[in-house]
């Protein structure tokens, strides 16, 4: 009857179970997949059929390898009808303009394809030409039937019309894939396709040429996929690597992909790859895309945390205590009112502050009635926290170099009811010249901001090598100034906290290590029991082992901004000489004596040993002048005069005690430390030295008298030898005298006395006002420079 009635194939209809039963993809899709030429014949008009025949005959050329990337091949291989069924706009070969209204009518949603492919070439073939030949070549694994069909169609397409404009198909298939990337992506597409299908296929690293293509219009989906693939490969590199590709190629590709996907500059991403292992790196980058939770700190000067929490909850804020480690912190989940404008905020009951910004103040642990310096205080969150911990007692000096931001400091401090603060507008490096002698110092140094990328995404691209190094340089200067502003002899303090909101090693561990070498400080535990330890070594750098007590915080591990905190304790107010290479021995100096050795050491290019000896001498004598004189003696003059030194007035016991101390460090050219003096002397250059020296001797002037005779301390070896011990004793005696004198004399009078003394120094031994160090050096050059007070320079020649 014309009806092909096959009871076995008859479709069940109706509400029953049999109608709903699926028969499997093969049978279902047969309706859509064109069998070999079935649909073609059905749908072609006569003219189309002729054209098709012509095409088949004339297609000797290899169809343009049109293998779309894997994501495209699969859909592309479905026929028009299939595409229609899936609602895609994918144009199967567009119907010719002159016919095939049936085809046109079938593709309702793809009217534009006719325009795209209006050329007469588009023809009855339903499927696109995707370089089916390549598919067949790479066919090693089993394919699903649909893929087999797809490949067959591809082949047909290739035969039918090689001059399809693959670009259009690509565009329609996939938004961002640039057309020119298609040809080279043949293999890759196949590889990707197979990845989608069969995970055993290894990930093929795209050739470097493809990166440029990506740059034009990167497809984020593909980039993301590739990132995951590369990470997977690198995780199990031995097994999953592709032959002939090195690990660095994979890493380079990964770096570029990450930079593309997360919009980073190459420099910063390279730095991050150095710091983090791969798994953490992805988490870190993801965490930077998301803002951290809003946190606030209760102002305990005006309210209590539970009262504030209650008041805010009544206003409609959803909050919780911050954690066990914070007694005044609250984290805000969401709020129906602007959290920065509630009456409680305006009344100064709380301050919006990041969780990581509360940590340095907790590490600093300010006590009541102390003198605190906050060197970079804007916008005032940490300063106000310090004030509330001190309960408005003591004094805080809040300083910042940026006048604009100081306004917010004033506003915040007044709002929060802080009354014990002075706000100043200095460059931090000018401390301690302005005022020093603080019990504690907090330095929240300006940094590159790589830890707060979630707050300021511009950091991703506008930071490079120069910025980081510039920041590091500034931080080093600020840190040295901060250390000099701390009074090591403080009864309750002597601490400094250095913190940055950056995670680069150049700005954190390197700066801290630099300070450890340059000043008499040591790292102490911060008191924070969570957080990652700082690095003690990083790539080619090695840092002091105590850097383990510093703390690093990351957005992806602690859910707070990236931060670095280091806590120093200053154990001596003297400044070590730069050329004594080794770390300073931690011998605390007498609190009253403080001496500045820097200028002297800078001037004198003494060998370390000499310097060490000088240091010892200085320590013993507590006076540069003293040490100078002995040095001179040893250099040019016999030690004879040394014995003339005033008989030590100190008890012998002290002398005996001292020599041991003196001789001990001889062996090591340790940092020369001068006895601490009550007042801070600040010298920077040789010019200051003479004045300083004058100052120093002034205090000891009276007792000194002929102290210069002491030949002791010229060198460690001399000290350690028997005559040295004697000398030590003598010098000790002198030291004692010096200390006593120092305590008695006011500075000014001492100065005058010193100058007088110098002039009055009779012997041929001139007392060079130069540094003691210089005396051990070849004297002439040094002493000439240092002498300003008119003392003769017999040794100069």
């Amino acid at each position: 009857m014309g009806r092909k009635l096959d009871p076995t194939k008859k479709e069940k209809r109706g509400p029953g179970r049999k109608a709903r039963k699926q028969k499997g993809a093969e049978t279902e899709l047969v309706r859509f997949l064109p069998a070999a030429g079935d649909e073609t014949f059905k749908r072609l008009s006569s003219r189309a059929r002729k054209r098709a025949a012509r095409r088949r005959a004339g297609t000797v050329e290899v169809p343009k390898p049109n293998t779309a990337p894997g994501t495209k091949t699969l859909p592309g291989e479905l026929s028009k009808a299939a595409v229609q069924a899936r609602g895609k706009k994918r144009p199967a070969p567009t119907p010719s303009s002159d016919g095939d209204e049936e085809e046109d009518s079938e593709e309702d949603g793809v009217a534009n394809q006719g325009d795209l492919w209006g050329s007469g070439d588009s023809d009855a073939d339903m499927v696109d030409d995707y370089g089916a030949d390549s598919a067949s070549e790479d066919e090693e694994e089993k394919l699903l039937p649909i893929e087999r069909a797809a490949l067959k169609q591809k082949a047909r397409e290739a035969a039918a019309g090689g001059q399809w404009s693959e670009e259009e198909t690509d565009e329609e298939e996939d938004d961002d894939v640039p057309p020119e990337s298609c040809p080279p992506k043949d293999d890759k597409a196949e590889g990707d396709l197979q990845i989608n299908v069969d995970d055993e296929e290894t990930f093929v690293l795209p050739a470097s040429g493809e990166m440029e293509q990506d740059a034009q219009a990167p497809d984020l989906q593909r980039v993301h996929k590739r990132i995951q693939d590369i990470v997977g490969v690198l995780r199990n590199f031995g097994a999953q690597r592709e032959e002939g590709r090195s690990r660095s190629e994979y890493l380079n590709r990964l770096q570029k992909d990450l930079a593309t996907y997360y919009s980073y500059g190459d420099f910063l991403l390279g730095k991050l790859m150095e710091i983090f292992p791969l798994s953490e790196l992805i988490e870190f980058l993801e965490a930077n895309e998301v803002p951290r939770p809003v946190t606030l700190r209760t102002n305990t000067l005006k309210t209590r945390r539970r009262d504030l929490a209650q008041a805010l909850i009544n206003r409609g804020v959803n909050l919780d205590p911050l954690g066990k480690w914070s007694k005044s912190g609250l984290v805000v989940y969401d709020s129906s009112v602007p959290i920065g404008a509630t009456p409680e905020y305006l009344a100064g009951h709380y301050m919006l502050q990041g969780a990581s910004s509360m940590l340095p103040v907790m590490a600093l642990a300010p006590q009541e009635h102390e003198r605190i310096l906050d060197m970079c205080c804007a916008p005032g969150g940490k300063t106000s926290y310090i004030a509330q911990l001190m309960k408005n007692t003591g004094v805080i000096l809040a300083n910042d170099a940026n006048a604009e931001r100081l306004k917010s400091v004033v506003g915040n401090l007044h709002r929060l009811g802080v009354t014990n603060t002075i706000i100043s507008h200095y460059d931090g490096r000018q401390f301690p010249k302005v005022v020093g002698g603080f019990d504690r110092v907090l330095l929240d140094a300006p940094c590159s901001g790589t830890g707060v990328i979630s707050k300021d995404p511009a950091v991703k691209t506008n930071k490079d090598e120069k910025d980081v190094l510039r920041c590091a340089h500034l931080q080093k200067e600020l840190l040295l100034s901060a250390i000099d502003s701390v009074n090591a002899a403080s009864k309750t303090g002597g601490y400094l906290v250095y913190c940055t909101c950056s995670i680069t090693v150049e700005e954190n561990e390197w700066v801290v290590d630099y300070a450890l070498k340059k000043r008499n400080v040591r790292l102490v535990p911060t008191g924070l029991d969570f957080g990652q330890e700082g690095f003690t070594r990083f790539r080619e750098r090695r840092f002091h082992p105590t850097l383990r007590s510093t703390r690093r915080f990351y957005p992806h591990t602690h859910n707070m901004d990236g931060f670095f905190i280091a806590k120093f304790k200053k154990f001596s107010n003297s400044i070590p000489q730069p050329h004594t290479g080794n770390a300073a021995a931690a011998i605390p100096m007498e609190p009253e004596l403080k001496d500045q050795v820097t200028p002297m050491s800078e001037n004198s290019g003494q060998p370390a040993k000499g310097a060490g000896g000088t240091a010892k001498a200085k320590r013993q004598l507590g006076r540069q002048q003293h040490s100078r004189k002995p040095f001179q003696k040893t250099n040019g003059i016999s030690k004879g005069p040394g014995s003339e030194s005033t008989a030590p007035s100190i008890p012998k016991a002290q002398e005996s005690a001292r020599p041991q101390k003196n001789c001990q460090p001889d062996g090591k050219a340790g940092v020369i430390r001068k006895p601490k003096m009550a007042r801070k002397l600040k010298q920077r250059g040789p010019k200051s030295k003479p004045s300083k020296e004058a100052a120093l001797p002034k205090q000891r002037a009276p007792p000194k008298g002929v102290d210069s005779e002491t030949p002791a301390m010229p060198s460690p070896s001399e000290i350690c030898t028997a005559p040295g011990i004697k000398d030590c004793g003598q010098s000790l005696g002198k030291t004692k005298k010096i200390e006593k004198a120092k305590q008695q004399l006011p500075e000014q009078s001492a100065k005058r006395a010193a100058s007088l003394k110098e002039d009055g120094t009779p012997k041929g031994l001139s007392v060079p006002t130069g540094s003691p160090h210089s005396s051990t050096r070849p004297p002439p050059a040094k002493r000439r420079k240092s002498v300003t007070k008119g003392s003769s320079q017999p040794l100069l020649s």
Binding site: V395, L397, K407, I422
Partner: protein, 180 residues
């Protein structure tokens, strides 16, 4: 930075006394230390002597603020109290005004207080008396001048102004630049 002259001290104390009356003495003679007023860049700061010693080391052009700023002297040498003095006025205020929660926001935006927003007012407040404005939760919101005496406040219609606004804590976010 310099101490206030007699004239300046007189003007300032008169102003402050409008709000806290004779309690002004408590500001000067405090049990926990000696506090004093200093003038710097036309602004009056209230500091303790301990802070003063440290502040003396800072050069004038670099000093931005110290202690608490009470207000400033205008070009015509009148004294203008700022909201930053509220912490010291509020505990010693003699005449207080409480406003309803609905009117809080309006006052914090710098508007005057209307009769409809008035919650409580101290008895026997005279007209043009300096008052400190509180919320119903006893949070000080600012200060102003009573436009009507307490008696009149009862009689007047709801849209009349009862307290002229002079300063409020909303200025911390609205006028941050004028604080220094």
């Amino acid at each position: 930075m310099r101490p206030l002259t007699e004239e300046e001290t007189r003007v300032m104390f008169e102003k402050i006394a409008k709000y806290i009356g004779e309690n002004l003495q408590l500001l000067v003679d405090r049990p926990d230390g000696t506090y004093c007023f200093r003038l710097h860049n036309d602004r009056v700061y209230y500091v303790s002597e301990m802070i003063l010693k440290l502040a003396a080391n800072i050069s004038g052009d670099k000093l931005v603020s110290l202690g608490t700023c009470f207000g400033k002297f205008t070009k015509t040498h009148k004294f203008r109290l700022h909201v930053t003095a509220l912490d010291y006025l509020a505990p010693y205020a003699k005449y207080k005004v409480w406003i309803k929660p609905g009117a809080e926001q309006s006052f914090l935006y710098g508007n005057h207080v209307l009769k409809s927003g008035l919650g409580r007012i101290t008895e026997n407040t005279s007209q043009y008396q300096g008052v400190v404005v509180y919320s119903m939760a006893d949070i000080p919101l600012g200060f102003g001048v009573a436009a009507k005496s307490t008696q009149d406040c009862r009689k007047v219609d709801p849209m009349a102004i009862v307290v002229f606004h002079q300063a409020d804590i909303g200025e911390y976010v609205r006028h941050e630049e004028t604080l220094t």
